[in-house]
């Protein structure tokens, strides 16, 4: 075979090198600059969540082509141990052939510059939901569960705080007691607080317009938060950058050796491209830190629900949130997003209830808005330096994006999750992680034969059994420096101890409460939904999800 392949790396180097901001690798900074990173980093948390779902996993995850439900690139394997499914993972950047390559229909290429600071999670399940009491933000006390429409279903179930409020009230996470803001569509309840008497209620909402959000964070006309100009920080080239440049010449010389096979040259070419990436990351940079500007923002008064959504509106929301973080006005924020009425149609009733029929439409319709918000938010946070520790703000933040359902209507299996940021260094990022157990495909029947994905002739559902969803919250809690005693709720244990209806492997379990608890339906003793839990190893629920031991972002 003639060797004329242009590798992905070569493409990036040649065509997109100037356009693609390679994340700066601050571990490779000159030693004088490394010393800036000291102490416990400040941390922030932003959740961006939809009600219901936005269709099939192929809307969110890369490379599900051909047989759209079979990963063509399974990637590396993390072995979790006996009895647990392996985790397949791969660098997110490996799915993107150029700066313009779409990662997926929902995310497009807007997140490409930040892929090394993002994890995309697949195979996280709330095994069965039914109505709208999914544990949007962890555990049982969310999503209207125990309240309102769904209160009669499990009226005696205790709640616990949703993850955003839990973090905000924790002084290890939020030592300055900065504010929490809950923003978005008021019918979509996923932010819950618990009062001193143990009762629970929905967190107060600031409204549904950007102006309301701005005023809630900065005060009317921004009067509560003074602006600061910050300072510009520059760094020099890594001292061994020249050496690596010379080494790259060596690689190219070896690549021309007459003994090499075509396969040798391909391997050397890929390696050379990989070192080129590293070499670019050793270059110096210039950035601004400690800046707080918000009066230049022009918050609109568009209602997120009834007036539809436009991309500029989403970007403004992202600007307000990132300014709130940089101005130290908030430590946590939840943005509950529901599409509402679109072009005269009730998005939820017409599209989200027909996920097979409207997969593509949902992606086309909402994808640009979702990536407008996430792209702007990640861009803002990654391009500015937090003076507290010299890292970019995204490094010190976790941005959580997910939704209530997976591919099925009213079904929480395989809920897609994107987490951006490193939580101050606690989360290794840059990966597409798939927790699906490739030996356990439960389709058909997993939707109790009442979903389109169970219908004859429908495309295969993504019904591999994965890991229980709440483990992503355990992961984030521990990444944020919390200890189990900070988030586990012993009141929940009574509902799980000794349950014999949750599958053979889970009998006689005790102490699986708190954010390690599996989900609401398991609370119903001997309920039909409990049978879904037989596939999960409940003894693992309190553990964080397995991750690669290295982060692709080392800033």
């Amino acid at each position: 075979m003639k060797y004329n392949r242009v590798s992905r790396r070569m493409f990036l180097q040649g065509a997109g090198g100037a356009l693609l901001p390679i994340p700066f690798l601050s571990s490779l900074l000159p030693r004088a600059a490394w010393a800036q990173s000291t102490g416990v980093p400040p941390r922030r948390f932003v959740s961006f969540v939809h009600d219901s779902g936005l269709g099939h996993p192929s809307n969110f995850f890369p490379n599900l082509s051909g047989n759209r439900f079979s990963m063509t690139k399974v990637g590396r394997v993390l072995s979790q141990g006996a009895g647990l499914p392996d985790v397949h993972y791969e660098a997110l950047s490996s799915f993107v052939a150029s700066t313009q390559t779409s990662l997926s229909p929902i995310f497009g290429s807007a997140l490409n510059p930040y892929l090394n600071q993002i994890n995309l999670y697949k195979g996280l399940d709330t095994p069965y939901v039914g109505l709208h009491n999914a544990n949007y933000l962890g555990n049982l006390g969310t999503g209207g569960f125990g309240l309102g429409d769904y209160g009669t279903q499990f009226p005696t179930t205790p709640a616990s705080m949703s993850f955003d409020n839990l973090l905000n009230r924790n002084r290890r996470f939020n030592p300055k007691a900065l504010a929490h803001r809950n923003f978005g569509h008021f019918d979509f309840k996923c932010s819950v607080v618990v009062d001193s008497s143990g009762g629970y209620s929905f967190a107060p909402e600031v409204g549904r317009t950007n102006l309301q959000l701005y005023n809630a964070i900065f005060g009317v006309n921004g009067g509560n938060v003074p602006e600061t100009s910050g300072q510009t920080v520059t760094s020099v080239d890594h001292p061994r950058r020249g050496l690596l440049t010379s080494v790259l010449d060596d690689w190219r010389r070896v690549m021309n050796h007459p003994s090499l096979s075509a396969g040798d040259r391909r391997a050397l070419s890929d390696a050379t491209d990989a070192f080129s990436d590293v070499e670019r990351g050793l270059a110096g940079s210039s950035s601004t830190k400690g800046i707080c500007r918000h009066r230049n923002l022009s918050p609109d008064t568009l209602d997120y629900y009834y007036n539809g959504i436009i991309e500029s509106q989403m970007r403004t929301t992202a600007d307000i949130i990132s300014a709130g973080i940089m101005c130290e006005a908030i430590s946590t924020l939840n943005f509950s997003h529901t599409p509402g009425v679109e072009n005269g149609n009730n998005f939820h009733q017409v599209w989200q209830h027909r996920p097979v029929l409207y997969d593509q439409q949902m992606a086309n319709h909402l994808g640009p808005r979702i990536r407008a918000f996430l792209g702007r938010l990640l861009g803002n946070l990654s391009s500015s330096i937090d003076p507290a520790n010299g890292k970019n703000y995204l490094y010190n933040t976790l941005v959580y994006y997910s939704m209530e359902f997976g591919p099925g209507s009213h079904h929480g299996a395989c809920r897609p999750v994107l987490v951006a940021g490193n939580g101050g260094g606690g989360l290794n990022t840059g990966y597409y992680l798939d927790y699906s157990n490739r030996t356990l495909n439960r389709r058909p029947g997993y939707f109790q034969n009442n979903d389109e994905y169970d219908a004859p002739g429908s495309p295969s559902g993504e019904m591999w059994i994965g890991e229980i969803f709440n483990r992503i919250f355990v992961t984030m809690a521990q990444a944020m420096g919390l200890q189990p005693s900070d988030y586990e709720d012993p009141r929940l244990w009574q509902f799980f101890a000794g349950r014999g209806d949750m599958g053979v492997q889970n009998q006689n379990l005790t102490n699986i409460g708190g954010y390690g608890s599996p989900g609401p339906h398991i609370v119903a003793p001997n309920g039909a939904n409990a049978t879904y839990y037989q596939y999960y190893n409940l003894s693992e629920f309190k553990k964080p999800l397995a991750h690669p031991t290295t982060s692709l972002y080392t800033g």
């Binding site: 075979m1 790396r9 690798l25 571990s27 490779l28 590396r76 394997v77 993390l78 072995s79 141990g81 006996a82 009895g83 647990l84 392996d86 660098a91 950047s93 490996s94 061994r240 050496l243 690596l244 010379s246 080494v247 010449d249 060596d250 690689w251 010389r253 070896v254 050796h257 003994s259 090499l260 096979s261 075509a262 396969g263 040798d264 391909r266 391997a267 050397l268 890929d270 390696a271 491209d273 990989a274 070192f275 990436d277 590293v278 990351g281 840059g430 053979v504 492997q505 889970n506 009998q507 006689n508 190893n537 690669p548 031991t549 290295t550 692709l552 080392t554």
Partner: protein, 606 residues
Amino acid sequence: MQNLTRVFVLNLVAFGLIYAGVLGCSPMSSRKASEPSLAPEAPPIIGDIQEAGLKCDVSKWKVGKFDASRLSKAQYINTLTSLLTRALSNSESQLVLADAEVSSRIPEDGPSKFVDRPMPFDSTFAQGAFEVADRVGNSLRTRGYLEKVVRAYATLDQANCQGALLSNLSVNCRQAFVRGWTLRAFRRPLDPAVEMSASFQAAMGSGGDVPTVLESLIVSTLLQPQFLMHLQLDQAATSSPALARLSSYGVISRASYLLWRDMPDEKLLSLAARNPFSKSDLAEAVQHLLTARPDKIQATLDLFVRGWLDLNTLPPLPSPSAKLSYLTPGIQVNQALLQEMSQEVSDLFQYVALQNKGHSELLTSNISFARSPSLMKIYGQETPAPTVVTDLNAVRFPDGERVGLLTRAALLFSGTTIDKPAHRSVTIRKKFFCQPMPPPPPEAMAAAGVIEQNETLTTRRAVENLTQVGSCAGCHSLINPVGFAFGHYGPFGQTRDVEPIFSNNQKVADLPIDSQAVVLGLFRDGVPRPVKDGVELSAAAARSPDFQRCLSEYIHWFGSAQANQPDQSESCQVAEVYQAGSNGKLLDMLTAPILGYDFGFRSFEK
């Protein structure tokens, strides 16, 4: 199920064809008596390949199998460690490795059957390699080890470079250091024609601040393709553009990474330097590899046997229950028990190999390697196996109770509170007889639960009732008997004469075990084998050439360092392993892939 039966039968036929292929190629004894030199003698002519000693048909070789690949994580860490310990003490080397944070910075490898399987050389690995190289350089300098490293490697190049300050090191000593250092780092001598890059020229010249220049050389070396990859830059061409013979250094390096997962040591490099390099030199190298570093060879044998028998993926532990408590008195049912089970099998394999025992002892040995209280309890054993087991001090099972691998706890453990005859049979057919087995139909998995919940019958009777009728009967008439023969071993591998029957968490009966079976379709001769139990079946398997053939396939798979199971095109190489075991020795089979003449060649696409 009828279709599955057909598939199964077809697979058996195909299996027979593979065997035919194995037997069909020319035996090793047809080689010429004289030993051909591997390098640097004149390369063989493609038309004369058989004359030159290549045994198997080159046209059937897999192309590109030995293309350049990067070191695996284990190989990288071992190689870097070996480089440091040639010059520094173990404790000093460990300090440098800790400074470099090697384990966390080099990414994990991909899943592997027998051999290290590095993932592609991507930016993650490149970044890790850069950071490690950078940190190694910094560590050597700041800890004051740089001078020690330079002098040690210069001395290895037989230069006398003691005395003078490092900053005043002579050009001769600088050059000696570069030669000595790169010979080890690249696993072959530096080729000035292609490798005299800027950093090498600077290091070997007279200018610059010597410590800085030499530190840069060290860092640069650790980033070179010759260090980070398995490369054959010094291979010799043949008349075929797609066939090359490896240099002696290439052969030695390949053998070293196969058996040690590490770079060659000084003895191996001295053998590689012999000119001409003969087959006896390679044999000497293999002997050295087998004896000089027991820790490394044991680790490699452990890697092999775990891959062969899937010891790292034993079934999950069963959930707590009254029946489990009854079955496991005094036994700690936890992950450690699974590790002890798999380690015991690995220890048996290593013992047979390294004590130069016959491969049949893998199926007949009555020596126990149980050392933990729980595993000893399973085996009914009073005394733990000695740390170093010999024929004289071995703890042995009573006659007729337990022999060889098939009766060890790791291979008997079912992950439930019943034994799983079908599972045991499939394992034996796949792992010991290389019979392709169709995956169980989905309903079979549901049936397993039904069998476990039966409250009146032995597992054997429950399985028979379920599988000897209807569509299941075809496959299971072949599958079941092999598993039934091991009925005297419980779900954790304990010996038993009766099986406890439970109902509502209470034991309601003890039913007698029937382990007599007529085994069908296991042996190639097609003769039904009536056996009274697993011990008798193990003995029959040990006597059969079928097991030796299957083991040869796995050893070739291991020896060829490829990710996927070899196919029929490699039956000739498999036969070579088989023939090497004709004297009965397992070790000869394990080293056959290296000592086979083909080991010194590669076929590739230009």
